[in-house]
């Protein structure tokens, strides 16, 4: 599904004018106002530097520029990270706190999360254009960046990439690199939990070519953290995993598995 967003990588972005998202301003006001210690105004927040890439993605502009594919991947990763952090705030305790403070903090929190959701959907469906006029990465570095981008759900048309490769380049793109770029697939899987043997479950995720990446895998609360050179994607784990102990990650050519062991004392079978 395509969105109306056009993203160019390889062009130094201009400063993004505009104001801080209303939901963020309102969230801060709602959290701080009941205590009366400070009241950030939209004027104060306007002067702050929201991370440029994140701000660009949150803006409602139809065209955004990034200096490189890596910068775009990092911005999407940051946006996902912020969303995860906000979702951790949204707890029963937070709702109670907002209720007692008689403020709209949770409403604004939800608004901000919705805004980020929308931005993520927009960028994953965007039309991506590469421009190597100002800077041309090495084929290897570009492959790494495209893999990072694919991890956060943004695809790149390999044919368009080949056309963008400057004809003035000392070396044309080799067949080997063309084929490697074509092999990069967007990460889409949400995973499957299967019982491997008694008390051992395996959470399986498919991603073509994952075996040849330098992927790091971690767990943060109920999310799997997939990290590729600092660019992160989060996969929600099935609720059952919270009662199991994670073990070893196995990387195969086109899939990964994470073992979870049941602690019978935590989860007795009937």
């Amino acid at each position: 599904m395509h969105s109306d967003l056009r993203v160019t990588c390889g062009v130094e972005p201009e400063g993004v004018p505009g104001s801080t998202p209303d939901a963020l301003v309102q969230l801060i006001s709602a959290l701080s106002a009941p205590f009366g210690f400070f009241t950030p105004t939209p004027g104060v927040l306007d002067g702050l530097n929201l991370s440029r890439g994140v701000f660009s993605l949150l803006s409602d502009r139809q065209q955004v520029d990034f200096a490189s594919v890596n910068q775009l991947a990092q911005a999407v990763s940051d946006l996902e990270s912020i969303h995860l952090a906000l979702s951790q705030i949204d707890s029963e305790e937070f709702a109670i706190w907002c209720g007692l403070g008689k403020n709209e903090g949770r409403v604004h929190l939800m608004d901000l999360m919705t805004m980020i959701d929308r931005a993520l959907i927009r960028v994953t469906g965007s039309q991506l254009q590469l421009n190597f006029t100002e800077y041309r990465p090495s084929p290897k570095a570009l492959f790494r960046s495209l893999t990072q981008l694919a991890l956060v759900g943004v695809g790149c048309d390999a044919l368009q990439l080949q056309r963008a490769w400057p004809t003035s380049a000392r070396k044309p793109l080799s067949t080997k690199w063309k084929s490697r770029y074509e092999s990069v697939k967007v990460f889409k899987d949400t995973g499957t939990l299967v019982e491997r043997e008694r008390s051992i479950f395996s959470f399986q995720l498919k991603w073509k070519g994952v075996g040849s990446t330098e992927l790091a895998v971690g767990i943060l609360r109920n999310h799997l953290v997939l990290d590729l050179g600092g660019v992160r994607h989060f996969v929600e784990l099935p609720a059952a995993c919270s009662r199991m102990e994670p073990g070893v990650v196995q990387l195969f050519k086109n899939k990964m598995t994470i073992d979870f062991t049941v602690d019978e004392s935590e989860w007795p079978r009937s």
């Binding site: 801060i28 210690f37 929201l50 990270s81 912020i82 895998v217 990650v249």
Partner: protein, 97 residues
């Protein structure tokens, strides 16, 4: 002056944060202890990401974590003042087949 690392570790709960932005220490008596211990690290990290700490509004040294990815030391404080380790990324061993 306390060590930044130590300060960070104790200032991510709501009570400490309120005090760090100017509230009297008695504020923790006015709000339920469960709320005072509420972890607001992710929110602080978000503010940090937009540079709000640079304005001095939140006090210096409060926000040690960065949100370039979730390197956020979040989590609820336990009764002894220690962190619940489940709130940090736990990296898993990898075997390549």
């Amino acid at each position: 002056m306390s060590e930044p690392g130590k300060e960070d570790a104790s200032a991510n709960d709501l009570g400490s944060w309120l005090i760090s932005v100017g509230a009297p220490e008695s504020i923790t008596d006015l709000i339920p202890s469960e709320m005072a211990r509420l972890d607001i690290a992710p929110l602080l990290a978000l503010f940090n990401g937009i540079g709000l700490n640079g304005s001095g509004l939140m006090g210096s040294g409060l926000m040690g974590s960065e949100l370039g990815g979730v390197s956020v030391a979040s989590g609820r404080l336990n009764g002894a003042g220690g962190k619940v380790s489940a709130d940090e990324i736990r990296w898993l061993p990898i075997i390549r087949s």
